[in-house]
């Protein structure tokens, strides 16, 4: 599953995040990497337990949970506290799959990582290189969207951040456990939800066919969902 959700954060909100991050202390990004990806990861992170990381993370979660396109695509059950990273010139993150399970030391939350997501906090003209590249069902896809956009991908698909050759790339990244474990099933649910969202303003919320589709949607979630 690969979904691009534009304008997840408004420009003013992006500016607020950037201001807070500029004043923060950074550490080596290897601190949250698994045994394999520590060799391929070279960037900086806000310390996951720092006040600034937690505060911005909470603010980002609020925006995600108010975004129908994100909710429809991810059907999140538990979201790992968002982390924030910074890639300068020469930094990169080579192809890897994310760890299957993650525990957060601070909150004790443990999740199965079904989906990863990157929220871009730098605009494309601020840096060269730094594309997010994801191997998906139909081949490799590259993303370098405007600041505020979100890209959601299957955590099990190989993905990478290309080396930065100019400027700085700021982003937040998120892992989550979905109520719908299997990628194909979640894709079907995402398409059904998108169709319903598309039809609702055209045929009216109380249309009998729309209500039937809403019933099918909820029954599918009931069928596949883990709560």
């Amino acid at each position: 599953m690969l979904v691009h959700v534009p304008c997840t954060l408004a420009k003013e909100e992006v500016a607020y995040f950037r201001g807070a991050m500029a004043a923060a202390e950074w550490e080596d990004g290897a601190s949250t990497a698994g045994a394999n990806s520590s060799f391929v990861k070279k960037n900086e992170q806000l310390p996951p337990d720092s006040e600034v990381s937690r505060k911005l993370g909470g603010r980002l979660l609020g925006a995600l949970l108010a975004n129908p396109a994100f909710l429809g695509a991810a059907v999140p059950l538990r979201i790992f506290p968002p982390l924030f990273n910074r890639y300068g010139v020469g930094d990169h993150f080579d192809p890897h799959v994310d760890n299957a399970v993650r525990g957060d030391a601070l909150t004790g939350v443990r999740i199965r990582v079904d989906l990863g997501a990157t929220l871009f906090l730098s605009d494309p003209d601020e840096y060269d290189g730094g594309d997010l590249v994801v191997d998906d069902v139909y081949g490799s896809r590259q993303f370098k969207p405007p600041a505020g956009d979100l890209v959601v991908y299957a955590a099990g698909s190989l993905h990478m951040v290309a080396p930065i050759t100019r400027g700085v790339r700021l982003a937040s990244f998120i892992w989550l456990q979905s109520m719908i474990r299997h990628d194909e099933a979640r894709g079907v649910i995402c398409d059904l939800d998108a169709s319903i969202q598309d039809l609702a303003p055209r045929v009216g919320q109380d249309d009998p066919d729309l209500r039937k589709l809403a019933g099918v949607y909820h029954n599918l979630i009931r069928y596949w969902g883990e709560a």
């Binding site: 194909e184 099933a185 894709g187 079907v188 398409d191 059904l192 998108a194 169709s195 598309d198 039809l199 055209r202 045929v203 009998p208 066919d209 729309l210 039937k212 589709l213 019933g215 099918v216 029954n219 599918l220 069928y223």
Partner: protein
């Protein structure tokens, strides 16, 4: 899920069936009964390998294949060659469940009976009693349809045919294995198909939402189907 589908056979077709059945030889209905239903079954049947049953059975199969509602509701994978029965005064079929697996006589084909079907061939005013009664955990559903109509219900249910107290009740009955084993999943697909058919008629089948919903329908079948 109990689904009634009207006019699977036209009235002329029903008359043709009745005529052919009137000329045929009948046998004790216990010939196809399992050990438990042997005790409660009391009716007559056309011999299942007899010419009348086979010819009429093939006509039933043709009519089923030409009924979009039947195909959508049942999503059949294998259909047992239809059988034909006759309940005169004093005949009935006590409470029983259908065998889980049925072999088609003289062939290596075996069918898991997911759905049971009764196709009514007598009009309701031709007989008293003879209702098909399907039990669930909260009560009973009674079914007595016009000649040419059929009822489709999960074979897992306990069901009976009430004793006929006047006239004669003639019907065809058979079982089928669905491509979609699970009743919940099959019901959901039926609802989805109905909504798509209705929306396509209103918005045009080329409407983007209809196209996407059609993809959802086929992808769900791909996820669940045994072909």
């Amino acid at each position: 899920m109990l689904i009634c589908i009207p006019e699977v056979l036209s009235k002329q077709k029903v008359a043709h069936f009745r005529e052919a059945m009137a000329k045929a030889e009948w046998e004790d209905g216990r010939s196809t009964a399992g050990s438990q239903s042997l005790l409660v079954k009391n009716n007559l049947q056309l011999p299942q390998d007899g010419r009348a049953a086979r010819e009429l059975g093939d006509e039933v199969l043709d009519a089923l294949a030409a009924s979009p509602s039947f195909v959508s509701a049942a999503l059949p994978s294998k259909i047992f060659p239809p059988l034909f029965n006759r309940y005169g005064v004093g005949h009935g079929f006590g409470l029983h469940v259908d065998n889980a697996i049925r072999g088609v006589p003289n062939t290596p084909v075996r069918i898991r009976t997911d759905l049971s079907v009764t196709l009514f061939l007598s009009e309701p005013d031709e007989y008293d009693g003879g209702e098909l009664v399907i039990e669930d955990r909260v009560g009973q559903q009674e079914v007595k349809l016009s000649a040419g109509d059929l009822v489709l219900y999960p074979s897992t249910s306990l069901h009976l045919v009430r004793e006929v107290t006047h006239g004669e009740r003639i019907a065809s009955f058979f079982w089928l294995q669905s491509m979609i084993r699970d009743n919940v999943a099959r019901a959901l697909l039926f609802d989805l198909d109905q909504a798509i058919q209705s929306l396509s008629a209103r918005l045009g089948s080329g409407d983007p939402a209809c196209v996407k919903l059609t993809a959802v329908y086929h992808n769900l079948i791909r996820t669940w189907a045994e072909a």
